[in-house]
């Protein structure tokens, strides 16, 4: 077939401009968080002379590699506030961005398998309710009613003793989310520049004044770092350190199946999380590989363990096949909470440390980080998530508290 016979290319959702010599602000990283930040800078703060620099292609890092789970059932007040704000934004963004990214509020279940799990889960349900987050405790029979393919019998090593359930939680189409933000950013005049890798920063004393890239030097008054797993590499270029360790995090999908899985199920204890994508793939993920890694791949035994857990919980999955596995690079902190705020370098700001759960936080990361960049001071939602908390000791310790291990 010659090219004449192919259908016309659909309209491009954003331009591919050449970088200008200067911008009012530059966002490093064209994933979900970078694009959301640019969107809120333009929309809420009128900053449209800005650029998003992406070293690869738009949303090709963790935004393309996550398991798209959205929930806000975190234990601590600070986390519940920012993740619940994110969830409220997810609920209005399809209309606001005029793009249906298939946000499906099918609920998220977090299973309890031990007496410790049960107590922790009930405590978290209580904490969630006090913070206005929808949450309920389900006994095994209610679990079975909501998700009939789950094995709630006592014939497995760690029987299901109940679950917490957040009905408003769910999944969304990650690529479409990125495209929705990118299109609106572009409409408002934001330059999205792909294949543009940052190689250094220009500083006047301790103030950042520009960005060196493989496509030339760009002068700018403000820089926002949104590079997830590569945040430490950028910080080192800028002359400061971050309390971040980058780990591989793997996920996998099966071939397409008829709809069998009506909700999202997460298990901290046997460690797997499973949903079924709109097209029909079973999507699974688990914990990080233990070692530091920038390789966007991990060890196979991690995949094997998460599938073993999935088959025990969902016997019906035993005859499904793994279609693809992949890895991303997640930026973990010691307290499993993000860092959104100022840095030791003047006019340079950082949004990182979202670890294994950054996708769900995308809208709130963008909103609060844009506020921080535009005003020079944190929004009340990201104030607790400062870099200084590691010195003051005001940690937000979501390890084990946040419904799933990180």
């Amino acid at each position: 077939m010659s090219a004449d016979h192919l259908p016309e290319h659909p309209d491009f959702l954003w331009r591919n401009p050449e970088p200008k010599s200067s911008y009012d602000a530059v966002i490093v990283g064209g994933g979900g968080h970078g694009l959301a930040t640019a969107y809120f800078l333009a929309k809420n703060h009128g900053m449209t002379n800005i650029a998003v620099l992406e070293k690869g292609w738009l949303a090709g890092g963790n935004m393309a590699r996550n398991t798209t789970i959205i929930r806000s059932n975190y234990l601590w007040d600070e986390s519940a506030a920012i993740y619940e704000h994110a969830l409220k934004l997810w609920e209005v963004l399809p209309e606001e961005l005029e793009y249906d990214f298939l946000f499906s509020q099918r609920g998220v279940m977090n299973l309890a398998h031990t007496l410790g799990d049960v107590r922790e889960s009930m405590r978290r349900v209580g904490a969630n309710k006090l913070n206005g987050v929808d949450a309920e405790w389900l006994d095994p029979q209610q679990v079975k009613e909501l998700c009939p393919i789950l094995n709630v019998g006592d014939n497995i090593r760690y029987p299901v003793m109940g679950a917490t359930y957040q009905p408003r939680a769910g999944i969304a189409k990650h690529d479409h989310v990125a495209w929705a933000f990118a299109r609106k950013c572009d409409e408002m005049g934001v330059d999205i520049i792909q294949n543009c890798e940052v190689t250094g920063f220009l500083k006047d004393g301790n103030r950042v004044v520009g960005v060196k890239t493989n496509r030339g030097t760009i002068n700018t008054e403000k820089v926002g770092l949104c590079a997830a797993g590569h945040s430490s590499v950028l910080a080192e270029m800028a002359g400061f350190r971050l309390p971040i360790q980058s780990h591989p995090l793997q996920a996998l999908v099966s071939e397409l199946h008829e709809p069998v899985h009506p909700t999202v199920v997460m298990s901290n204890h046997v460690h797997v999380y499973v949903s079924q994508a709109h097209k029909g793939e079973l999507v699974m993920g688990a914990g990080v590989d233990s070692y530091n890694g920038y390789g966007q791949r991990g060890s196979f035994h991690v995949i094997e363990e998460q599938m073993a857990a999935a088959v025990e919980l969902f016997p019906i999955f035993a005859r499904a096949h793994v279609l693809r596995t992949w890895g991303g690079i997640v930026d973990t902190t010691m307290d499993a909470s993000p860092i959104v705020g100022t840095t030791p370098v003047e006019n340079m700001f950082v949004n990182c440390g979202w670890g294994t759960g950054g996708f769900k936080g995308t809208p709130a990361a963008g909103l609060t980080f844009a506020h921080t960049i535009a005003t020079g001071a944190p929004h009340k939602l990201n104030e607790p998530f400062s870099l200084e908390r590691f010195e003051t000791g005001a940690l937000i310790d979501e390890h084990g508290a946040a419904a799933v291990a990180h």
Binding site: S232, R241, Q245, N292, S299, T333, M334
Partner: protein, 109 residues
Amino acid sequence: MLLISCPNCGPRDETEFHYGGQAHVAYPEDPYALNDREWAEYLFYRDNTKGAYAERWVHSTGCRQWFNMLRDTVSYEIQAVYPMGTPAPGGSAPGTTANTAQAPEGASK
């Protein structure tokens, strides 16, 4: 899966080992002399090198001994395995700079 050469037991699967993070981070000589910034550095800040990285591993289901390893964090290639308390081979690799002069660390504590 990584194939790790334990200095005592020889090459074994990664699943027999546990990761111990960055190597050569010594306990402060006098913790009470540290200010909050320095204490935060010791507790929470570790190098996050892209490239050759000196790190600790323990052979949990074998000899149960700790050892150091120099591994590339991009290719995951293991470049050297060496005993606790000795500096990283080459010496100049990133991730090997912190407090190397302040041995003894590891096995003796």
